[in-house]
Symmetry: C2
Subunit: 150 residues, 2 copies
């Protein structure tokens, strides 16, 4: 539960890949797909959505491909995930849309909206650039906490 979709995974991998290459050279969908064993056609679909969301720019034709539209420091994980899966809502009823059977009776909206904000903040602060840099910091002391349990 609370797992993000595979498309979102693929999107993050692609973004990180493009961030590492950087520069002005565009990368084809095939190249990325092959590198991570992702179905080409699906990878393309994901990339297209990222273009539509304004996170990537694409050039058509031979030697075409995809490039980051802006610096990787200016792209948050939240932006990528929302581009693929749509705005993430913890509850069926969001702040604006309340298409839920028991909206009237429901008593847990407000507490849940609060924790939604916290999750949004967690995803909104981390950038693609940080994610790309992390590779080196694999052995970083993360303090696994005791939250895991089971």
């Amino acid at each position: 539960m609370l797992r993000l979709s595979k498309k979102a995974d693929y999107a993050l991998m692609a973004m990180k890949h493009l961030a590492e290459k950087g520069g002005a050279s565009s990368t084809s969908a095939r190249e990325i797909a092959e590198q991570y064993d992702i179905p080409i056609e699906l990878m393309a679909k994901v990339l297209q959505r990222l273009v539509r969301a304004g996170l990537l720019v694409s050039t058509q034709g031979t030697r075409g491909g995809y490039m980051l539209s802006r610096a990787s420091e200016a792209i948050s994980l939240a932006a990528v995930i929302e581009a693929i899966d749509g705005p993430f809502t913890v509850t069926a009823c969001s702040t604006e849309k309340h298409d839920c059977e028991q909206y009237g009776k429901c008593s847990i909206r407000f507490p849940l909206w609060r924790i939604r904000e916290r999750i949004a903040a967690a995803l909104g602060t981390v950038t693609i650039a940080e994610m790309a840099a992390e590779q080196v910091a694999v052995a970083a002391p993360v303090a696994h906490a005791a939250v895991v349990r089971r």
Copy 2:
């Protein structure tokens, strides 16, 4: 995306309800179900899982029902959600299980595990008691942030 299941919603509603009643009186599944327009049988099933997870205790027979097993201050949202949906993993590959096709090639594990910890922390700190108390604090200044967009 990242939405929690309806069963988890129902579980939280029930827990909050029981927390508000408090005391030593047990409440039947029917009573809770009717109050929030939840299918009785489904509500019962959810409550059973909460019993098995040790969050509730049940008494059988006429006048039977469910009660919190411990103080509502000692029950986190994370405990309830995990009891219903199982341990939440943001990625397909968790710390222990890595049953993912592209585990070797994957480059985004560690960054995502980090944010998983943050989400776990957010859910682990909030208790049922706080959620029940929140009702009063509806108009609290939550600072909606600009994360919503779209």
